[in-house]
């Protein structure tokens, strides 16, 4: 079989391979009846939560163990059939699309929490465990796992996309919080990237390489994650600002003063309107910051006072405090639902979430210019951001069938990405590359991309692992 190369990153599936009956029979010897070629199942597994069209695989298998995954991959490797790992399909850049067809390995049934080591603050899970499931399981231990992308994603998918969340400014992203994993490589071999230890300088850091590899280097079948003690005191606040600039300046000063805020999230006036409507709040429809503070009673009090002073200097409105756990849950759930809230602004439309990250000193400028561009092009796009890290998202609410509108979206998006790159930033703060961002990666990495390419070839010479993603071969 000849795997053809993809030319246009957002084009539809090209030459999907056909899977022979013998091949499927061989897979059934491993997974028995846990294999489906039903159109609806394949369609669903070829589609993520974004506007990208479904690119269905030829078959979906539901794996139950590392050994099974290894056997499946070995069979696919022998026949040079593409393999696409699948967590919960909440990614946003066409990550799970079967560009050339092939076999999707659904890992949701590998959802056991294997060991919690409270003393060492770590936990080992199977990849299908979801983030909320993990925290529910941990509840009685006094520990928690902080990374919280908006969706209730699988930890395998979160590892593979290097997911981030609202509290990355304090706890980091998946990059900082994956200690080790078991991976099935492109030839079916099983490797362990490191041990549970907090510290290691032995050999190349394969752990960091697999975090963010988007299923293109191997299938992650077990993950050891870092845990944190639930802070003694937590409080959250919502605060409106007269304009975006003063909100962003508040963030910058807070970060520069080294105040260890746990969360600091920006929503512009469009997003606040969406939030009020969707989650039944009645916050002022102005640019708004949401804060959360973690620590001891005294520490939290001091942090919030310091931030209060900084916000005052920037003409902030009234702080509204959420001290009760239920209030905070509602607040952050509202923040997590912002994608769906935004889409509800225009029923029937599709969403395209963009994702840029710039050095914080350029953040205000970057957001303001982008906002202006969106308005000038008369597009609907709320802006939200994990601004403590210099990361923000525009969410274009658009009609993919309206070609004129799509062209304007694309031009605004392109200018935004180029603006971010010129400011020393990146176009993929946390949503990954998938197929949607392939071209931008070239602009961002230059020469380094050829190293990435040789790395991919070295580890997956036949290009069977999630082909067509991250880099074009």
């Amino acid at each position: 079989m000849q795997i053809s190369l993809q030319t246009n990153p957002v084009s539809l599936q090209t030459n999907p391979v056909s899977l022979s009956d013998e091949f499927l029979e061989e897979l059934r010897t491993v997974v028995e009846q846990r294999l489906s070629t039903v159109d609806a199942v394949c369609f669903q597994h070829g589609k993520d939560e974004s506007w990208h069209e479904s690119m269905p695989p030829g078959a979906v298998v539901f794996a139950h163990s590392t050994e099974e995954v290894s056997e499946i991959v070995k069979i696919c490797a022998r026949h040079k059939i593409p393999v696409i790992p699948y967590g919960t399909g909440t990614s946003l850049e066409g990550h799970v699309g079967a560009v050339h067809g092939g076999v999707c390995i659904d890992l949701t049934e590998m959802n056991e929490i294997l060991t919690v080591n409270a003393e060492d603050l770590d936990v080992t899970v199977q990849p299908g465990v979801r983030r909320k499931q993990l925290n529910e399981h941990l509840r009685d231990t006094g520990l928690f796992f902080p990374i919280d992308p908006g969706a209730d994603a699988s930890l395998g998918g979160m590892t593979a996309t290097r997911a981030s969340g609202t509290n990355a400014v304090r706890y980091g992203t998946m990059r900082e919080n994956v200690l080790s994993m078991v991976v099935v490589m492109a030839d079916g071999r099983i490797i362990r990237t490191s041990s549970r230890s907090k510290k290691s300088s032995a050999g190349y850091d394969l752990t960091r390489l697999f975090v963010g590899s988007e299923g293109t280097l191997g299938v992650i079948t077990e993950i050891t994650l870092r845990l944190y003690g639930i802070p003694e005191a937590v409080s959250a606040a919502v605060c409106p600002f007269p304009d975006l600039e003063s909100a962003v300046n508040t963030v910058i000063t807070t970060i520069q003063c080294g105040i260890p805020v746990a969360r600091i999230e920006l929503m512009d006036e469009v997003q606040m309107k969406a939030l009020n409507a969707y989650s039944k709040f009645d916050y002022p429809e102005q640019p708004t910051l949401m804060f959360e503070f973690h620590g001891t009673e005294a520490g939290v009090k001091e942090q919030s006072e310091m931030v209060g002073d900084i916000a005052d200097d920037n003409n902030a409105g009234e702080f509204q405090w959420a001290t009760k756990a239920e209030e905070r849950t509602k607040l952050w759930q509202g923040r997590h639902d912002s994608y769906y809230a935004a889409m509800a602004l225009r029923p029937g439309a599709k969403g395209m979430a963009t994702d840029v990250c710039v050095p914080i000193s350029r953040l205000a400028e970057c957001i303001l210019e982008t906002r202006k561009d969106i308005d000038e092009q008369e597009l609907l796009s709320p802006i939200v951001g994990h601004v403590g890290d210099g990361n923000f998202h525009c969410c274009f609410i658009m009609d993919p069938d309206d070609l004129d509108e799509m062209a304007r979206v694309e031009s605004v998006n392109k200018r935004m990405v180029m603006r971010a790159l010129e400011m020393g930033g990146t176009c993929t703060g946390e949503h990954g590359v998938g197929i949607g961002k392939i071209d931008y990666l070239v602009a961002e990495h230059g020469e380094a991309l050829s190293v990435m390419r040789s790395m991919k070839i070295a580890l997956d010479p036949d290009n069977i692992m999630n082909p067509g993603k991250i880099i074009k071969l």
């Binding site: 490797a77 490191s194 510290k199 752990t207 260890p260 620590g295 380094a448």
Partner: protein, 495 residues
Amino acid sequence: MLMPKPDEGTIAKRDEIIRAMQSIVSDEGVITDKEELRAYDCDGLMAYKQVPLIVVLPESTAEVSKVLKYCFENDVKIVPRGSGTGLSGGALPLADGITLGLGKFNKVLDTDFENRCVVTQPGVTNLAITHAVQHKGFYYAPDPSSQIACSIGGNIAENSGGVHSLKYGLTTNNVMGVEMVLMSGEVIRLGGKHLDSQGYDLLGVITGSEGLLGVITEVTVRILTAPETAKAVLLGFDTSEQAGDCVAAVISAGIIPGGMEMMDTFAIQAAEEFVNAGYPLDVEALLIIELDGPEVEVEYLIGQVNKIAKDTGAVHVKISQSEEERLTFWSGRKAAFPAVGRLSPDYICMDGTIPRGKLSEVLREMNKLSKKYDLRVANVFHAGDGNLHPLILFDANNPGEFERAENFGSDILRLCVSVGGVLTGEHGVGIEKRDLMGEMFTEDDMKQQQRLKCAFDPNQLLNPGKVYPTLHRCAELGRMHVHKGGVKFPDLPRF
């Protein structure tokens, strides 16, 4: 220790290579004199020595690129070198290789307080970064004890840590970007002043790669605001089990101290004799716990730690009452190596990491090993993150003692791996632990790691002989299919 057999052809071409280098870098940047070369014959692992073919000291990225390109085209090996303080032999020269010293890359290029980062050349010392920013209340967090001397480039290559890594992370958590020259002479940039970027995390792979993937020529690191207050508590325990329990209880209580260090009797006594830090001498284990942050929080946490310490049986508790006293508490710990060094003609410093919960078990086993090998061992320990530094004392003049010490050390590292730990927490593998990699990784694991190397340095010219016990040719690694039963390589020469 077996190193790759020097290539006679390269040695025969020495004059030609020298001329080529002189055409690239300034005259005093090429060192060829046998006596001058001796200054570079080892790093901090002084048991192994080798005079390099020549030493080249470039001054710019362009020069590094030209040197590497020449070597790539002419099949000449390169060993990058920072300050030469490495403890695992990573910068040990090769008889047929150029030692590429980064000493002239000694400028801090940009202090960017708005974005909380510093851009610097790789030869700048770790401490110089803090010196460049402390007037504005900032510092660079990872603090290896060698920080006055070691270079930031070497720190990245070794993923170095220090007593504050528990709270603030290792080098890998504090590097934001690098410029690096590949063996082909190509220059690549990874990361930068922004938080994160996508695609494969090459920066993560470079950090800790011990000079095997490329030569780092520029570095961007994160700087932090110095904490408002810091206080240290000195705790003495009758048994190391109790001290271990205390460490576990502090962490389980959700407290992440700025630093949490442990020393055993032998190390305590040596340090106290050397610097008079005020350590209690009648205890089996000493903990130094530092808490930093806003004043109110520090006060509160000191109270919590105090209570945990009493509950776990601390017989000696002392809280620093002034900045001066806090530094005195640390002075003993920071001087532990030389202090122990005074008590013995020779010592070797080991570096293993274990899951925190296994501490008492490991210390008990280590004492048994100490009896078995009839050698003394002193322990200093980054207790918070499970990183042990046993110092094995010996006298190289007694025949057989060095070998005994080496075997003792290997047994300690095997012990670490057997309880779920790793061979090295922060000093790297180099040549010192190269032959023990098999204890921690399977042949398959190591082959995958080496495949990575092929993407950067297909001809294995950068720092060969380090880290991996068996050097596979890239072509051979490219053969991916495993046959049933697996092909082992018992018959391949170990160099």
